[in-house]
């Protein structure tokens, strides 16, 4: 009986991890969201390009550390086939706008979208805030980063360069 309880507990604890890890090498769920300027943007528009997709929120302290690095990433790859898309899950658009305005020198290559109903982030089964996905040119998720670590920016660059090489 005890063994069954442990196995059940082990599985129930691992399942969410498995579910989201299961998105790796799967097609990225398509979506259409509005930007902070109100303009609609679809993931499909980036077909043929490598996409760095990040879900964040203004109330998330690691997101505050991460966003300047994402901004640098957008600048680093501005002349490439890479698109950087940040999706805010804030309920209020103005909170997302205020958050972005605190970043010095916001890159023109950083696309900021708003997901107030959290419908898109739930389809991506994010397990932490923030969570980032690196999607290849065929629209397949190749890398997932749950949360933000200080080693992430260097890993992002390596992963993106590996996908950019594979045309």
């Amino acid at each position: 009986m005890l063994k069954k309880i442990f196995v059940a507990l082990f599985i129930s604890v691992l399942l969410p991890a498995l579910a989201s890890a299961g998105l790796v090498n799967k097609k990225a769920p398509d979506f259409t969201l509005n930007g902070l300027d109100g303009k609609a943007v679809s993931l499909g528009e980036y077909k043929g390009r490598v996409v760095f997709l990040d879900f964040w929120a203004s109330w998330c302290p690691p997101c505050k550390k991460e966003m300047p690095e994402i901004n640098k990433l957008a600048e680093k790859f501005k002349d490439s086939d890479m698109a950087v898309v940040g999706v805010s899950v804030d309920k209020k658009k103005e909170h997302a706008g205020t958050f972005i305005s605190t970043i010095p020198g916001v890159s023109k290559r950083l696309t900021v979208l708003h997901d107030p109903e959290s419908s898109v982030v739930s389809s991506y089964m994010a397990q932490a805030m923030p969570t980032s996905y690196i999607i290849d040119r065929a629209g397949v998720i190749r890398f997932v980063h749950f949360g933000y670590r200080e080693t992430d920016p260097a890993e992002w660059v390596k992963e993106i360069e590996s996908l950019l090489k594979g045309k």
């Binding site: 991890a17 670590r149 200080e150």
Partner: protein, 393 residues
């Protein structure tokens, strides 16, 4: 072999998921005034610093100082309008209505080990004229179920040296504290916690700062004394308190925080209610109940109001009596272990600066102030004022 497999599975579960979250850099400066109706005033200052060295490591430093200012108090204790014993900080009055100063230093570090477990270690050192306390603390925190559950386990050891004015030398007291808690997110707007602590104290458990009248002696006989006098009057004396040399305590807590997104015609929008209940009992037969309610409300985007109310009731220690004889093994003049009810009610305002004010390398982010009123069924009451600011860097 089966037991080893089970242990491995349990360990794997415990280690499987992330732990800890990032703190934010801040400095806090606060000032307090506790003004008692027995003429005692305690002025306190708190200076705290919290800094992320990395995403995984946070250090905190704190210095607190209490200036105790008795107004004509000398000896005895506060209930009869004299002295400043244990007014706020445990600091005692110097002889002849002097004042006392208590310094408290705290340093701590917390580290998240590879998102597996978070460890916090703190050291607290406080000193005043007749009391030195040294307390290391260690806490382990583990998040489970997508951080919906946080388990906390901790241990601290108080190592105190007491040299109260009615003592001829100094004596030690040691307290081991164990605590555990679970915090559980119940919904996107509700979080609850339960906690338990157990502590064991040994050594001198009184403070050597109060005298007990025995026999025919009265509080008035003892009040002006600077040393015990067992024969101050015929058939009576003023002697040191005598407490048991051991005390075991258990405390149980349950709390819930709930956020309101709307309700009462918009009155509850952007507000939160916090309810806490605590039950305590110990080996001296002191048992107590505490209930506390706090209500927070954003009055606008930059102003937060907090209303709070706390009710507390406790029974007396088994050896507390109305009158003592010289032959009693235990004797007490301490208001701390008498039967009492207390009430605390207060209002706090926090102003969030829309544009932080820069001061050197710091930015003032918020200002706060509070007023609280504390009353005891023993007749003691206090007005509590607090002002402070929070800075980022």
């Amino acid at each position: 072999m089966g037991a080893i497999k089970k242990l491995f599975a349990l360990t794997a579960i415990f280690l499987a998921l992330p732990a800890a979250a990032l703190a934010e850099d801040y400095a806090a400066v606060q000032g307090y005034l506790h003004s008692f109706n027995n003429g005692i005033s305690v002025y306190s200052g708190v200076f705290a610093l919290n800094k992320d060295l990395s995403l995984d490591t946070t250090v905190s430093l704190k210095y607190a100082v209490d200036f105790i200012s008795p107004d004509g108090g000398e000896g005895g204790d506060d209930d009869e309008g004299g002295g400043s014993v244990a007014a706020v900080s445990g600091a005692s009055a110097a002889v002849n209505a002097g004042s006392d100063v208590r310094h408290d230093f705290m340093a701590g570090v917390s580290h998240n080990f590879n998102n597996i477990i978070s460890v916090e270690a703190y050291y607290d050192y406080s000193t005043e004229k007749d009391y030195v306390s040294s307390t290391p603390t260690i806490t382990l925190k583990k998040d489970l179920f997508e951080k919906n559950t946080t388990l906390t386990f901790g241990y601290s050891r108080n190592m105190d040296t007491i040299s109260g004015r009615f003592m001829t030398g100094e004596e030690d007291r040691t307290t081991d504290n164990f605590f555990a808690g679970i915090t559980q997110v119940l919904s996107p707007v509700t979080v609850a916690q339960i906690g338990y602590s157990h502590s064991r104290s040994e050594g001198l458990l009184s403070e050597g700062i109060r005298l007990v009248p025995t026999g025919a002696a009265t509080d008035a006989d003892c009040a002006p004394l600077t040393a015990p006098d067992p024969g101050i009057v015929a058939g009576g004396g003023c002697v040191n308190e005598a407490f048991p040399s051991e005390r075991k305590r258990d405390a149980y807590l349950i709390g819930v925080n709930h956020y309101f997104t709307n309700g009462l015609g918009g009155l509850l929008e952007r507000s939160a209610a916090k309810l806490t209940f605590r039950y305590y009992d110990d080996s001296w037969d002191v048992n107590s109940w505490m209930g506390e309610a706090e209500f927070y409300k954003y009055l606008d985007d930059n102003l937060i109001m907090r209303l709070n109310y706390r009710y507390y009731t406790q029974s007396k220690a088994f050896f507390v009596k109305d009158a003592y004889s010289a032959g009693d093994q235990f004797k007490s003049s301490s208001p701390q272990i008498e039967e009492k009810n207390t009430n605390l009610v207060g209002l706090k305002l926090i102003y969030l600066l829309a544009n932080p004010v820069n001061a050197w390398k710091l930015a003032v982010n918020s200002l706060e102030g509070k007023y609280e009123y504390y009353t005891e069924s023993t007749g003691v009451n206090a007005h509590i004022f607090m002002g402070g600011l929070r800075l980022s860097f």
